[in-house]
């Protein structure tokens, strides 16, 4: 077992030495900050891939027709290291999703929050998508 730096402690502040969050790819190049959107739908698929993960939501309109939306979030390791697993999010569950629409007009959102019915937020603590603050906060 490597014994590094016996007894040394960083003098870097009391909290963990995290550096601030920045998206590594450009939100601005792909998403439109002037187009916030809120969706309600059912979780159909999870894709916890890198560099950013995705969830897929089936959104029904008033006539009952459903459309699938892709919602981008941050790095899966952010969720994994907190102990969250894909299996914690059951398919078919109702979701409230806030985010910004993709510039290309497709059903793609950069997600700022995804709330489960019990109030849990899928993106708890996850930053780094580069989006502005949650536009649905005041709704």
């Amino acid at each position: 077992m490597k014994k590094l730096l016996l007894g040394s402690i960083l003098i870097l502040g009391v909290a963990s030495a995290a550096t601030p969050a920045f998206a590594h790819h450009s939100f601005a190049a792909e998403y439109d900050a002037s187009k916030p959107i809120t969706l309600h739908g059912k979780l159909t698929k999870l894709a916890w891939v890198n560099p950013h993960g995705w969830i897929y939501v089936a959104v029904a309109d008033t006539s009952g027709k459903t459309e699938e939306w892709a919602v981008e979030f941050g790095s899966p390791n952010a969720l994994l290291r907190r102990g969250l697993r894909e299996t914690d999010f059951p398919l078919g569950v109702d979701l409230t999703v806030n985010g910004y629409r993709a510039k290309n007009g497709k059903n793609i959102i950069n997600g700022t929050s995804v709330k489960l019915p019990d109030g849990r937020n899928l993106f708890t603590g996850s930053v780094g998508t580069g989006a502005p603050g949650d536009p649905g906060a005041n709704q």
Partner: protein, 255 residues
């Protein structure tokens, strides 16, 4: 007369002793680190046809022929899984995640994907063994520090590996795989419940016997095995290069 008999006995004895020594001579030929463990440091490479097809296959336009590396010869698919394998085989040229998308090949295919070399880094009493692969710049850590797999299922291409020594064999236990990799170009596949146990055994200074047990109760009726030899690269100044296949085709537009 007595002398001749003595000499005979002596010679027979010496012969027996020599053959006995010959049988157990192998361990003395293996390089070891200061902690007594077999020294796996170096650049290794498979030269089998496993990446093309784990089983016997003749030459075709795609690749040369090769003999099976499957110990049991048949892969024991469950009936529904067998149908999926056959469907994979039919569309392999469009669906193989390695040849069509350059996805990380999973385990054990990362060991023999395109027969590209990889380098093992091992320290005496180290907390892990680090393996750097030329294929897509991948790496794996085989944690030898007694830590367990992390909790819960995680979907990784190369899984999570925890290792220990059983005598002179490095036994690497891996789980937490996604279901997006194939074992070969022929379409042999698995699900998320894949459990792989690799055994790396240095049979002499320049050869590793690589024995792999594959288990996935949702796909296979019972565990089965792959066995192939890994060869040490010995050319002077040989080193890993890169194989960034996911950039092929677009890299000409850069810089």
């Amino acid at each position: 007369m007595m002398f001749r008999r003595t000499v005979c006995v002596f010679l027979m004895g010496a012969g027996l002793l020599a053959s006995a020594v010959g049988q157990s001579a192998k361990p003395a030929d293996i390089p070891r680190l200061a902690d007594g463990k077999p020294n796996l440091n170096g650049i290794w490479q498979a030269i089998s046809g496993a990446d093309v097809n784990l089983q016997d296959h003749a030459a075709d336009k795609y690749a040369p022929g090769a003999q099976s590396v499957v110990t049991e010869h048949e892969i024991p698919y469950l009936p529904d899984a067998l149908k999926l394998y056959q469907a994979n085989f039919e569309k392999r040229d469009k669906e193989d995640p390695v040849t069509t998308r350059c996805n990380l090949p999973g385990v054990p295919r990362i060991t023999y994907a395109k027969n590209l070399p990889f380098q093992i880094f091992q320290l005496p009493k180290g907390d892990k063994i680090t393996v750097l692969y030329e294929y897509a710049q991948a790496h794996r850590f085989f944690y030898t520090n007694g830590t367990p797999h992390p909790t819960g299922h995680i979907n990784w291409y190369l899984g999570d590996s925890r290792a220990k020594w059983e005598g002179d064999i490095l036994v690497v236990d891996s789980i937490d795989f996604n279901n997006e990799t194939w074992f070969d170009h022929a379409g042999n596949f698995h699900g998320e419940d894949l459990h792989v146990v690799e055994r790396y055994k240095l049979i002499d200074a320049d050869h590793i016997d690589y024995n792999v047990e594959i288990e996935d109760p949702k796909v296979f009726a019972k565990p089965w095995h792959i066995d192939l030899i890994l060869y040490r690269r010995k050319e002077k100044n040989v080193q890993l290069l890169d194989y960034v296949c996911y950039a092929f085709g677009i890299d000409k537009y850069y810089p």
